[in-house]
């Protein structure tokens, strides 16, 4: 992928339909002429779709059983792809007859005839008095089966989630090893700006994967509620927060990041002392700094 880095954030936002005004106009003009960025936009849309596909069995909600019948009633006698008028309940509640959803769709929340829509849904069928006993028995039986089914589903989901988490941890471990051993890993040695004591840090960074391992030693003791913050100083732009860490009693600490924005060219790395939760921008003098180099 060779999408233009300057549009990277905007492509992600546009994939979610969040970009507006001049930013949106500028990006759309660029997209008209850039196949790489169009591809990246499609990728981001695909990524966002995963959020909607991440529901567990317990979170997925089935539509009412009557909804399928409504749909099939509405399409019956209507040719697929014809764009011709459809008949049925849905057509009367919201115009769906035109082939393009932009023309046909009325946001349901704005529909003034909401009560009509509800009224048109199929009414429940009430059982006769003689069926009550049988219905009650069925209800109890269904309830028991449902509980059993739910318990089994929860166990399956838990097992699947645990398996997925282990797979992710293994992948991360493999990524870390590859950072340390890759011939193209950037290495930076950071030294104190003063002569003594001599805190040191080593950064191992792969820009393509946004992966970083930072090992610090001889770091001074931190004031209460403070932490060391590592900054990735890009070739172009403001310092980026690359993570917060604390050290042990001997002044040693390690920071591992695998989710930095990929593709950022590092000019240098630096450490400042910030509040324990980290800061979006450096607020204290640089303690140690080192230029990046292969």
């Amino acid at each position: 992928m060779t999408a233009h880095e300057q549009f990277a954030d905007d492509l992600a936002l546009h994939s979610l339909g969040l970009l507006e005004g001049s930013e949106r106009v500028a990006l759309e003009q660029h997209l008209a002429t850039c196949a790489d960025c169009r591809e990246e936009l499609a990728q981001f849309r695909g990524d966002s779709a995963l959020l909607g596909l991440a529901f567990s069995e317990g979170e997925l909600v089935a539509p009412p059983a009557s909804a399928k019948q409504r749909l099939m009633d509405a399409v019956r006698g209507t040719s697929s792809g014809s764009g011709s008028e459809s008949s049925g309940t849905v057509q009367t509640t919201a115009p769906v007859s035109l082939p393009r959803i932009e023309q046909s769709f009325t946001p349901p929340i704005a529909m003034p005839q909401r009560s009509e829509v509800i009224a048109m849904r199929p009414k429940p069928i009430w059982f006769g008095a003689s069926g009550w006993l049988a219905a009650a028995a069925m209800l109890v039986l269904s309830g028991l089966m449902w509980m059993q089914n739910s318990a089994l589903r929860r166990r399956i989901e838990t097992a699947a989630d645990q398996s997925a988490q282990q797979e992710i941890r293994l992948t991360k471990a493999e990524q870390l090893v590859s950072v340390l051993t890759a011939p193209d890993a950037v290495r930076a040695t950071l030294a104190s700006t003063k002569s003594k004591p001599e805190p040191q840090g080593k950064a191992f960074y792969r820009r393509d994967g946004g992966q970083l391992v930072f090992v610090a030693s001889n770091m001074p003791a931190l004031p209460p509620n403070k932490a060391f913050e590592l900054w990735l100083i890009p070739d172009n732009g403001a310092p980026m927060n690359a993570g917060v860490f604390k050290t042990d009693a001997r002044g040693n600490g390690t920071l591992v990041k695998t989710d930095l924005p990929p593709g950022v060219i590092a000019k240098a790395f630096a450490i400042t002392v910030e509040n324990a939760e980290g800061s979006p921008v450096p607020t204290s003098p640089i303690m140690i700094v080192g230029a990046a180099g292969i």
Binding site: L13, A49, A94, V96, I101, F105, V117, A164
Partner: protein, 173 residues
């Protein structure tokens, strides 16, 4: 049967193909719409709209681009956001082009991929996960999220982008 084969059936006017597709994806479409809009009636209307539109215009789905499930999921989300924003749809369904390499046609694959995405979300820094959820399920703009969380706009933008990329990478493994 593959999604592409089912869509081909719809193209030829086979109502049972639409029913089959509905059985495969109606829960996902309905659940996404419901999560965004929070009303079963509105969610059902969106569900109906989307499947009717696909029936009317099956050519809108480009099978060569990938899976139908993610495509329907995105359209459901977008329609629901349009609805809560009280605006007309921002995109034609044929303009919603997305690229997903993972297969979601089989329930087993969907469950496995879903578990991996849930695990990735569980491991994501809370602020990043929150930004993604506010953007995706509530349709909040980066400006609105920055105002709500009190964080710099650039931080929110980067969080959303890197959050999406980390979801991509979890399925690439």
């Amino acid at each position: 049967m593959t999604d592409a084969a089912i869509v081909a059936g719809i193209r030829s006017g086979d109502e049972s193909s639409l029913a089959q597709l509905y059985d495969r994806y109606s829960r996902v479409v309905y659940s996404v719409a419901l999560r965004v809009i929070g009303d079963t009636g509105f969610a059902e209307d969106i569900l109906q709209e989307i499947f009717l539109q696909l029936w009317k215009n099956p050519g809108a789905f480009d099978a060569s681009r990938g899976n139908l499930g993610p495509w329907l999921s995105v359209i459901a989300r977008n329609r629901a956001i349009d609805a809560i924003r009280k605006r007309k749809p921002q995109d034609d369904i044929e303009d919603v082009v997305l690229s997903v390499s993972t297969n979601f046609e089989e329930e087993l694959d969907r469950n496995r991929s879903g578990a991996k995405v849930r695990a990735a979300l569980a491991e994501m820094p809370p602020a990043q996960k929150k930004a993604l959820e506010l953007a995706y399920f509530e349709g909040m703009s980066h400006t609105e999220i920055a105002a709500k969380t009190g964080e710099p706009l650039g931080t929110i933008k980067t969080r959303i982008r890197s959050g999406l990329i980390s979801l991509r990478s979890v399925l690439a493994t």
